[in-house]
Structure formats: structure tokens, C-alpha cells
């Protein structure tokens, strides 16, 4: 029987009462305790200064690795501050969490919104050991106040933050905060040049990550694999969020140069392997570039060289939207509307992948040469 760690009792806060944010903040303060210093690091995320303040160095170590390529000097006036702590290492009380009822799925997500405050609680699991010798993911809480530009990320036990959250931290916080600024977090990769690049979309198994990571051995620059931030106005522009890339273990065979760069190759049993691009290809990763096209990837059995053909905007939206929207974990039309605007501004192409992996960046570069010389 699953050993739930979520124990909720007592009276709920009054509806509309933001006092619970003070309790969240107090939990962080308790975690900081008598620590002589509070690790702080700052990053330019979509051109905005985002500062992390951790109650313990372990939190900073685990949750900042994927942002290293965006690091900048710590300032006195960041645009967003994210507080990081946990209860196990920091010996701090849990912050307020929702009534989860009978829900037991570790991936269950409880979403709350009132005005400028959005919060999400990931149920995670108890401390039982899963198949493969790994422990269940930790319960975790994400909160953002978009008016006060303050956010909080708490984990019950930072040592159980799963690899996918270490590879792409604060997805909900950044999604909610950036969206309030007209920037959308999309489930897509991006490669290109300073003159312009492409968004790479596709469902799991379509070859999206293979295509993105294959470009590391080419002159094309890398902005992301799984998630990127995109602005539609004044012109379509992509921003790197994370240095990480994820690939199914059996797909690494197609990209043998990745083998030495795998960050979790020894963890056996994980669903995906992770690479941190900035650690091995520091000259290939960039913070942003203008967007020229959207590519949807598809593996074609029997094909040798990659080929690109134009498709309808709706086909592009169908490739981009479902996986993005279904991972945002909130309701609402606005993420879909933003993506619709994007596919109406950019041409959409199908990227058909064959056995010749080297032909993938060649095909993309050829397309960009044609597009970057077109009047915009």
C-alpha cells in the first residue's frame, strides 16, 4: 500500500485569503534557519532576470544545472525571484497542500488559481522503491505570484526530485510567469543560426529529439530539445530555457557521439537519458534567435536522406499543440490561441527522417538558407 506523505488536516484557509502565501514563505524561512548564507544565482530567461534563492546548496545544485548557459551576474533588482527548499534536507515544515482525496497516481497534479496567484501540487509518491531500484518522485509544490513577481518551489525531499524535473526545472512557474508576459512555453526543440532558426515539434517517438541533438555535430546552434519559450510578437522569436536534451536509450545508438555526455547513463531503468549540452558543446548552445519555420518530425521507414516538404498550418498546429497543452496542466484557450498565431505567422514543414542522421542538419540548414534570404 502506498505510504502517502500528504497528510492534510485542519481547516482550509478562507476562500480568497492570500495569507497562505505567508505560510509558504514562512516554510522557506524555516528551511533557511540559521544558515550563514543563502545561495543565489541569476539567469537571463527569455531576456528576463530570474533569480534563484535556495535554502540549501543541494537545492541550487540540482535545480540550476540546466540554466548554466543563461547565467548572469546576481543583481539587486531581478524580475522574478524563485525560492527553493525542501523539508527532508532542510528540516522544514511542509507548506500548505491540497486535499488530494483518493487520488494515488504519482503524476497527479492539483492546480489552483486566484487572481495573480497560481499554484500546482504534484502528488509524487511515498518513499517506496519502484522497479529498477529507484524511489518514487517527491511531492512538490510550485507557486507563482505574477503581481509580486515572486515564486516558490518546494519538494518534500530534494534527493527524490526526478531526472525530468532536474533537466527542466520550474516548468509550471516559468510557464505561468512567462505567459503573463506574452511568452509561451512550448513542447518543442529549436535549432538555427543568428539569422533565424526552426522550431522542431513532434510527439514522442517522432524523432524530434534525434533531430535536435543531431544538430550538435553541425554548424547549427541549439536552443533546446524538449521545451523552449516562444514570443509571437513583434516577430516570432525563440528563447532557450534549458540546456538539457532527453533521448530514449535505444535512440542514443543513432547518435553515438552523445554516449560520453550522458548525465544519467548509470541510473539504469530510467525512461530517457539526459545530456546537458552546455557542458559538452558550450559553443553550440545559444540563448535565442528569430524563428523562420516550424518543422514537424516523422520517421519514415526505408528512407535514407532526410527530406522536407511544406504542410498546412493546421497540420503544424496539430503537431505542436496537443503535447504542449496537455503538459501545461491548466485549463484555458490562451495557450492554443498563441500557437495558432504562431503557425499563421510561420511556414510549416514536415521533416521526414531516414537512416542518414547527418542529413538531418544538412536539410535544416538548406531550408534556413532559403528562408533567411526571403524578405520577412
Amino acid at each position: 500500500m502506498m505510504n502517502h506523505e500528504v497528510v492534510v488536516s485542519g481547516e482550509p484557509f478562507a476562500a480568497g485569503d492570500d495569507a497562505w502565501l505567508d505560510v509558504v514563505s514562512a516554510s522557506f524561512t524555516a528551511a533557511l534557519g540559521t544558515s550563514p548564507s543563502m545561495p543565489q544565482q541569476e539567469y537571463l530567461v527569455a531576456g528576463r532576470r530570474v533569480q534563484l534563492r535556495a535554502a540549501h546548496p543541494e537545492l541550487m545544485r540540482r535545480l540550476s544545472r540546466s540554466f548554466t548557459h543563461l547565467e548572469t551576474t546576481v543583481s539587486a533588482d531581478p524580475e522574478l525571484v524563485i525560492y527553493l527548499w525542501d523539508s527532508a534536507i532542510c528540516d522544514a515544515p511542509w507548506p500548505p497542500t491540497p486535499n488530494v482525496g483518493d487520488e494515488q497516481a504519482p503524476g497527479a497534479f492539483f492546480y489552483y488559481r486566484r487572481g495573480d496567484v497560481q499554484a500546482g501540487f504534484q502528488l509524487g509518491g511515498g518513499a517506496e522503491v519502484r522497479a529498477g531500484g529507484l524511489r518514487a518522485p517527491t511531492p512538490a509544490l510550485s507557486v507563482v505570484d505574477t503581481r509580486r513577481n515572486t515564486a516558490w518551489y518546494w519538494a518534500a525531499d530534494a534527493r527524490r526530485i526526478p531526472y525530468w524535473d532536474e533537466a527542466a526545472p520550474f516548468r509550471f512557474v516559468l510557464d505561468w510567469w512567462l505567459r503573463a508576459r506574452g511568452i509561451h512555453r512550448l513542447h518543442a526543440g529549436a535549432v538555427g543560426t543568428p539569422e533565424g532558426g526552426v522550431l522542431l515539434t513532434g510527439k514522442s517517438g517522432s524523432g524530434k529529439s534525434t533531430s535536435t541533438l543531431a544538430c550538435l555535430e553541425s554548424p547549427l546552434q541549439y536552443a533546446g530539445d524538449d521545451y523552449v519559450a516562444v514570443a509571437v510578437e513583434p516577430q516570432p522569436w525563440v528563447y532557450s530555457l534549458y540546456s538539457s536534451g532527453k533521448l530514449a536509450p535505444n535512440h542514443v545508438e543513432r547518435l553515438p557521439f552523445l554516449q560520453a555526455a550522458l548525465a544519467n547513463g548509470d541510473d539504469g531503468g530510467e525512461e530517457k537519458t539526459v545530456v546537458y549540452v552546455h557542458e559538452h558543446w558550450p559553443d553550440n548552445i545559444v540563448s535565442d534567435f528569430p524563428l523562420r519555420a516550424i518543422l514537424t518530425s516523422k520517421i519514415v521507414p526505408g528512407l535514407v536522406d532526410a527530406r522536407i516538404s511544406e504542410i498546412s498550418p493546421l497540420a503544424g498546429l496539430a503537431a505542436l499543440a496537443p503535447s504542449t497543452v496537455l503538459q501545461i496542466h491548466t485549463r484555458g484557450q490562451s495557450p492554443l490561441a498563441g500557437m495558432r498565431q504562431l503557425v499563421q505567422r510561420l511556414p510549416t514543414f514536415s521533416l521526414e527522417l531516414g537512416s542518414n542522421i547527418r542529413s538531418i542538419p544538412e536539410a535544416i540548414a538548406d531550408l534556413l538558407t532559403r528562408l533567411n534570404t526571403r524578405p520577412s
Partner: protein, 163 residues
């Protein structure tokens, strides 16, 4: 509400917001059901019917049939059977549901009544193309929207979480 072989009634139907979201590009529609992780595409007469249903007051069967009758050259009896069946399918998929009682009963009409010229078009039955390859995202990671009174909840200091 109509059944595939039943009598037409005029219960107004509307998009099942907020769990169903949709966008239209160049006359083609993409629909995502956030509750099930299923997504759909529509074009042609299916997109036309969706355009009518998504209007603020929704639409009833007879209104939809009248609008299609004006646009397409097809026997009305064929339109009736096709629309009835298609609306039933949309209801079964959870994409549309009865509009609240008392909704404004304005006539349903296309926002763009003419496509290029005034001639009626040949009628192709609506087809709802369904994709279920993303359902795991919802099944494995169910999302619960928490009413204000469900969260946040104070922790009872006398009860400590098991570790």
C-alpha cells in the same frame, strides 16, 4: 437531445468548455479534450457545424440543418440524418453538451456566409478525425482543478508527515 435514428429536437448544443479547447485555421479545426487527452480535426461540413456550435448561444439541430441547407446542394433528408449522427458523435466524445436553459435563441449563421461565390457546394459528410496518441499524458498525470475551499489547507502541527 437527438439520437442517431431518433426525432430531431432543438436542444441547443455548445462546446464543452473549459475542458474542450479549439482553434480554426483556414477553415480547418483542431479540438483538444483536456479531460481525456484526445484531440480531433475537422474540415469541410464538419468545420461548418463546429462553427455554428461554438457561437455564444450554441446551436440547435434544426438551425444547423437550415444553415447547411443554404450552403450545400444536398437533399434535406440527407442533411438531417448526417447532422443528427454527427452531433451525436460530438456529444459522445464529450466535445459538446446541452447549452443552459434560457440561452439566447438567435438564429445560427455562418460568420462568412459566402465562400467565393453564391453557388451551393457539393456536400461531403462531416468526418471527425480522432487522435488518441496523447492520452497517456492525461491518464498517467491526471489534473485536478482545486476549488478555493479545497486548497490551500493549513497543516495540523500535531500531525507530521511520514517520511
Amino acid at each position: 437531445m437527438s439520437r442517431p435514428n431518433g426525432h430531431i429536437d432543438d436542444a441547443r448544443l455548445e462546446v464543452s468548455s473549459p475542458q474542450v479547447i479549439h482553434e480554426t485555421i483556414d477553415g480547418e479545426v483542431i479540438i483538444i479534450n483536456l479531460a481525456t487527452g484526445t484531440y480531433y480535426s475537422l474540415k469541410g461540413s464538419g468545420a461548418d457545424i463546429w462553427e455554428l456550435v461554438q457561437q455564444p448561444a450554441g446551436s440547435g439541430e434544426s438551425e444547423i440543418i437550415d444553415a447547411l441547407d443554404a450552403r450545400y446542394s444536398a437533399p434535406r433528408i440527407r442533411l438531417e440524418a448526417t447532422v443528427r449522427s454527427f452531433l451525436f458523435e460530438l456529444v459522445q466524445e464529450g466535445l459538446v453538451s446541452p447549452a443552459p436553459e434560457g440561452s439566447d435563441a438567435g438564429l445560427a449563421e455562418f460568420l462568412e456566409p459566402n465562400r467565393g461565390d453564391d453557388a451551393q457546394q457539393a456536400f461531403e459528410p462531416p468526418m471527425l478525425e480522432k487522435f488518441t496518441d496523447m492520452q497517456d499524458l492525461v491518464l498517467l498525470d491526471p489534473v485536478h482543478e482545486v476549488a478555493e475551499m479545497g486548497w490551500p489547507q493549513r497543516r495540523d502541527e500535531s500531525t507530521s508527515p511520514a517520511s
